[in-house]
């Protein structure tokens, strides 16, 4: 089982590299996950997106799509890709401590 070390404490990850237990999430865990994704500094704009994702997940059980992020989080698509390069929906979900978005098949 893969783990992430935050302040010397191991935190369990699932097979996608996302948190295995959502309850393990703290802001420090988020910072560590962000570093893993190559984002060294989480700005207030990052936090706005992360918190929006968490609130949607809390209510609906799945992370929002990019389209929904753009429409409702107040951050436009271009900026989302600058904040979370290479797939904002997937990356922001990971940093927000959520499982990999179900997306669609």
């Amino acid at each position: 089982m893969e783990t992430l070390s935050v302040a010397g404490k191991p935190i369990e990850l699932d097979s996608d590299g996302h948190l295995a237990h959502r309850a393990d999430w703290t802001e420090n865990v988020a910072r560590e996950l962000a570093v893993q994704e190559g984002i060294s500094d989480l700005t207030p704009q990052h936090w706005a997106v992360i918190n929006f994702m968490r609130s949607v997940f809390e209510k609906e059980g799945d992370a929002p799509s990019i389209r929904r992020l753009t429409k409702e989080s107040g951050v436009d698509t271009k900026t989302l890709y600058q904040l979370f390069p290479k797939g904002p929906a997937k990356r922001a979900a990971k940093i927000a401590g959520l499982p990999k978005p179900k997306g669609c098949i």
């Binding site: 389209r67 929904r68 890709y81 290479k86 669609c104 098949i105």
Partner: protein, 410 residues
């Protein structure tokens, strides 16, 4: 007299109309279907039109022909639904009250959602094959095309028939090989997914197929805009893919009447209970097929399996009992792989497509996740099954609930 109102006369709506027409007492229930066009297209056939296998007129029938006599068909666009008043307002302003509503309004492509996609080059160097006109224009274009970079671009998920982009490329490989010009055509799939398909096992198998056929893949590509002058796709992160001919799967969205009713998500798909198929929060509204937001494929087979669940649940509901039947997300798709062969995948919410054999009385077994000629015949035969059995709501020898029989768990 109570009123069963069905919005949409496509695959899901037509099956439900047929099933309910035989089950509901004519003295108690009237049944109405509303659709804005007269033509019912066999959409799985569109894929074959660009390559000259089918012509469009072979894929269309009058909708009305598939409704039993007691069904009232209303030819009209829908303005919006007022669930609080149990009323649907038609485009002309007429109001239809209902006791039970079935939303079967489907999904359509929306090229205008992507910057630079829908311009004067649409239909000239940029095409779709999800509409009758688009598929026909592409057939015309291929006839005289001299070759170059042919890019199949998936804009965003979900899309109707998620295997269609792969099938298109497999068929293009076969088509240009037969025309003796395969060496002049560079085939590429550009997709927002991380691989050929969504689920791990099939993504690997189908990825190997693409590889073997010399079809390149650009994964994780989130299309931001299309530059028609430079003939290139530009992702949100500014990476680029150039093309000579673009075949686009534009953004798929639910019907605009869903947005006007404030009943949809950001793509106008109706939030639906994934087991009972009731619209979330609305007991007397049910949703079927591509109109739902379910985490299942948008495909005719899914609408068909859902119809059996929906039928049982509606019968329970009108007797005042809670829904009992639970949809498991079952999908069953033939995948054309070119040169007279095909694959078959069978899966649900929980079980990804697995290899093995798919038993089917009298005809099968078909091979799962493995290429074979019988799967190709299965796919071609299905057009007959669709018009003659499936739409009529008749029993097919395949269960709504997915079975593990014949599947090999790795």
């Amino acid at each position: 007299m109570r009123h069963m109102l069905i919005l949409g006369g496509g695959t899901g709506g037509t099956i439900m109309a047929n099933k309910l027409a035989s089950a509901l007492d004519e003295r108690d229930w009237r049944i109405t279907v509303v659709d804005e066009t007269e033509e019912h297209y066999y959409q799985p056939g569109f894929l074959f039109v660009p390559f000259g296998t089918y012509r469009m007129h072979e894929l269309v029938k009058p909708r009305r022909q598939y409704f039993p006599g007691r069904i009232k068909f209303v030819l009209s666009a829908i303005d919006h639904i007022e669930p609080e008043n149990k009323t649907v307002i038609l485009a002309g302003g007429d109001a239809l009250r209902y006791d039970v509503l079935i939303i079967a309004t489907g999904a359509d492509i929306h090229p205008e959602q992507t910057e630079g996609l829908l311009d004067e080059e649409w239909g000239k160097s940029k095409f779709d094959f999800y509409t009758p006109k688009g598929a026909e224009r592409l057939a015309q274009f291929f006839k005289t095309w001299q070759g170059g970079k042919l890019v199949l671009s998936v804009t965003e998920m979900p899309i109707k028939c998620p295997v269609a982009p792969l099938e298109f490329l497999f068929l293009a490989d076969a088509y240009f090989t037969k025309r003796g010009m395969r060496d002049k055509v560079d085939l590429r799939l550009v997709t927002p997914l991380s691989g050929a398909f969504t689920k791990p096992m099939s993504s690997r198998v189908l990825g190997e197929f693409l590889d073997r056929k010399g079809i390149s893949v650009t994964p994780d590509f989130d299309l931001g805009r299309v530059d028609s002058k430079e003939k290139k796709l530009v992702a949100w992160d500014e990476t680029e893919v150039s093309y000579d001919a673009l075949v686009s799967i534009p953004t798929n969205m639910g019907n605009a009447c869903i947005a006007r009713s404030s009943m949809g998500n950001e793509l106008n798909f109706v939030p639906t209970n994934k087991e009972t198929l009731q619209a979330e929060g609305l007991e007397d509204v049910f949703v079927i097929g591509d109109a739902t937001n379910l985490p299942s494929s948008k495909a005719g087979s899914v609408a068909h399996f859902e119809s059996e669940i929906l039928f049982q649940n509606i019968l329970e509901h009108i007797e005042g009992r809670p829904p009992v039947a639970h949809f498991d997300g079952h999908a069953n798709c033939f995948i054309e792989s070119g040169f007279g062969k095909g694959l078959l995948i069978d899966f649900n919410y929980e079980t990804e497509p697995l290899p093995g054999e798919f038993p089917l009385p009298a005809v099968g077994p078909f091979s799962l996740l493995q290429e074979s000629p019988i799967n190709h015949y299965g796919k071609m035969m299905f057009r007959w099954v669709y018009w003659n059995l499936l739409l009529r709501g008749l029993e097919l020898p395949i269960e709504a609930e997915m079975s593990m029989a014949g599947k090999r768990v790795q």
